[in-house]
Amino acid sequence: MNLSPFTIALIGVVGLLGVGFYGLLVSRNLIKIVVCLQILAKAALLALVAAGQVTGQVNLGQSLALTVIVADTIVAVMGIALGVQIRRRTGTLDVRKISSLRG
């Protein structure tokens, strides 16, 4: 079986997206949810670079992916800061316990 680099990258993108999505479904810890978001962002990064490579615009893909890295890092920082403050105030990181909305 001869797979092209683009197909290999797409397999990785689908795999990482699937794992990240599964993690978001099963995780209850706030910091672990940020880890799952990081995994999803890695998939987006790989997809952008692969798309840039297959269209011959690697540098455009790189510059878009750089924005994704910055945004992803800021999301991690904000999520972690939120988690630390919630832990200090409520004593837990469980998303079920910190939720004030009951349905």
């Binding site: 680099p5 397999i11 990785g12 880890v35 540098n59 790189q62 992916a65 800061a81 403050q85």
Partner: protein
Amino acid sequence: MLSLLLIVVAVVFAFQAIRARGLIASALWLAGVSALTALVLYLYGAHQLAVIELSVGTGLVTVLFVLAINIAGDTALDARLVVPLPLAIGVSLLFVLVLGWLVLVALPAPPAAPAATDFADVFWQSRGLDVLVQVVLIFSGVLGFLGLLAEVKAPLGGSLAESVTSGRDLELKALEEQLLEGQESPE
């Protein structure tokens, strides 16, 4: 074939990051995913981005995670899940199958490759707005980090109203004791 191997290992590391019970272990598996992603990016010709991903994704973010886990504590939660495990696995597999079919089978052939331009030209000239957005994002990140280090001013547990009323009760009680002592002392 090397890139396929790296990608498969990265997916396995990502799964381990989710399965790990400790948060530190989870953060370290995530660092592995970032490092492998950086290697794959290098193999795909995105050299500058690979360096940035390795320094930011593997270095900075991992340090932040470890710092935050040290502050918040590495507490393991009980095994109850948000959604039932069979449902989560089923939905995730369906997601992977549909997405895989869309990108691997139904995706049209990519267009012909145009001439490549320099990374600096693309980044500073064609994507100038992105740079502005990144500056704003970095400022908000600095504010977020200050929030990470900030101390709690409100009491732990209970609302602000409860703390105010309890403080007022204590003051009234102290005043009452003073009055009683004042009545007793002349005798």
